[in-house]
Symmetry: D2
Subunit: 220 residues, 4 copies
């Protein structure tokens, strides 16, 4: 089972964001995964236990995580449970501003800090490793018309695999697709996905998340 976790605050509290993602980012992700006959569930911050009961976590093969303004509200005890599950083999896909989530920082052992600028500029994502299953079907890369800029230096451990590098109109580059192993779990960080842009509706972004879900499934 795939569990899509979302903070789900911007989409309820900000009319501009609500228009883009009326049912939340998690439901957009969940919908395109379901079309691929993947068994998906969703969970949000304001659910009991953030929607991440022991039962749900135990049955989750890959957890997708989106968060931004409320990282601090995520309970430390739940973070430890997610951490334990990753070490046991659960895959984890960390999207965009979740670079600053407690769970990602816990697994990385670094600050996960970066440069950013929210000007809605052009992003071009280049495929660096065309052999990687997460790059399947992407060709040389693709453009996102408007996105928040994230720039280096990105304070992460050296990725096990670097799959994508982003170019930004304003002069920055960014390691946009990075994999890590922790215990028996596979982790994929993917840069795009600011709440103010319709990024998660773009077919290449959906393709990458779908590829990553398949890649991050645990070994038996």
């Amino acid at each position: 089972m795939i569990t899509v976790w979302n903070e789900f605050r911007h989409e309820r509290n900000d009319d501009k964001i609500k228009k883009i993602y009326p049912n939340g980012i998690h439901n957009v992700i969940s919908e395109f995964l379901k079309k691929e006959n993947i068994h998906v569930t969703t969970a949000v911050l304001d659910d009991e236990d953030h929607g991440l009961s022991d039962e749900i976590l135990k049955n989750t093969d890959v957890l997708i995580w989106w968060g931004h303004i409320a990282h601090d509200e995520v309970d430390d005890a739940i973070v430890e449970k997610v951490y334990d599950r990753v070490l046991q083999g659960m895959g984890l896909i960390v999207l965009h501003s979740a670079h600053y989530s407690k769970i990602f920082k816990r697994l990385m052992g670094t600050s996960c800090d970066l440069k950013w600028r929210d000007d809605g500029e052009q992003e071009r994502i280049w495929v660096i490793d065309p052999t990687h299953p997460i790059a399947q079907g992407l060709g040389e890369g693709f453009d996102i018309k408007q996105e928040e800029m994230y720039g280096e230096h990105f304070d992460i451990p050296i990725p096990d695999e670097l799959i994508f590098i982003s170019w930004f109109q304003g002069g920055e580059v960014f390691r946009s697709g990075c994999t890590y192993r922790r215990g028996k779990g596979k982790i994929f960080y993917f840069r795009p996905g600011h709440e103010a842009f319709p990024t998660f509706y773009q077919k290449e972004v959906q393709q990458i998340i779908l590829n990553a879900v398949k890649w991050a499934c645990p070994n038996e």
Copy 2:
């Protein structure tokens, strides 16, 4: 299509080896892959063009290579064709003494030299990366009762992924499962498989080769 290439000399010229692999190492590998409903063909050194016509190479998704005493007899022009196909995306699985094959040295850019001792000693293979699809189903590792020893320093580029490390009774260690990317192609080097021992009948060895075949298939 998977093509299993074998030098096929020891098995015809040496009675001791013939007893172990009467139809050649290539047929043992080919047989267990066929049981998994994989489309497999075989090719040997003494075939025309070493059995590697342009047509065969074009249709090969993953090429498995075993060679030992006759590396020098492999035609340079064929080596270049195999090399080109790897860069285009064909997977390559390099077994045991094929560390010294022209194609492996061509792709590595190093001498590929190593220590060796043919005493039929115990080898214990430890899984170093339990998240890797090639390690699927292997647990912590396994023993091979008798094998030729290969020892460090193994003069290869730093592997992209190190999956297995071997322990040998006599005091050596060896990086036994290594992956590389070259162009669009994925390469897996796997250490065991001396012709004088029934290594390719062992179920863990077959499992690894099967896993590697699936892993090395090209991205579409």
Copy 3:
């Protein structure tokens, strides 16, 4: 300045260990570094602030850490200060049983668990990366007559660089020399150094720690 930190408990509480390291492991390490004209200081668990005041940490270029039975007594606030200094550029050398120290686990993001057996068996350390400055002067490797065994699977992130692999008499292998970057800091984990054996008097072990000190110094 190099700071050698030691738990310093076994050497005071256990007569057998006291005989080997009468002034503590930290002083043996400190002495051979001083012979190389390196500015060294020492700190132990039972010092105020574990000997790691803000002033000391600020002036430390490389911190060497040995701990074993009292990891839990290390104050979390001090661990966070050491962590911050590593991200700012301080080098960290983690010895033997300090694989389980709070600071190493904090920086790795994994359990850092491993197999072990305290039988005083032979360890043979093989140099895997002869180009690495930490392997300078080591040749192909060396033996330690008696050591505690550490075996795979060692639950660490994939090392940025794998320099040494250990072979143990009893059948295990271990990634014995591993580097990591976290923030601006360089980290080296080195396996040997059980308190019950005179490992830190061995010239190759001293050479490696000296090499690592030079390697781990921060960029200006």
Copy 4:
């Protein structure tokens, strides 16, 4: 001893280039290294044995290589000698269009192909690994006002270390500072340095080449 090898054709045959590098690129590089009290010699394509006698190669600790239009004129036998010396421990610094030199392709085992556009556009080089000695003194990165563009996909093996990523005005990114080990030798590829621009006079470029020379020196 450091040997700076240059094709030295553009600077003699093209008046525009001659104005920028009247004594050749090799002498500009050689001059700034000499100021650091480094023992430097130079060699060019049209010297006997391309200036790379057995004696010179034997005494060279690090070889710097610049070539562009005459890769094919480099004698295969000399390439093999350089290759052998790298495996024995000689450092190799490969500059700009030398990505297509025989020696680099021989050591990489890939096509080393890339995108390019010679429009004299802005290049911004970002430091990705601030811990690396080759990035010493560079801060977050720097700009080159006018350079030839090189873009991904760059068909190289996955670098052992990725130190710099370039951003180009026209929309491309490039892995601009990459290290590799081959045998006992350390290799550094550095992207900038088109003959039509005064890149080798820029202080950051000189700093990087100086850092790389120190880094690439062989272990004793």
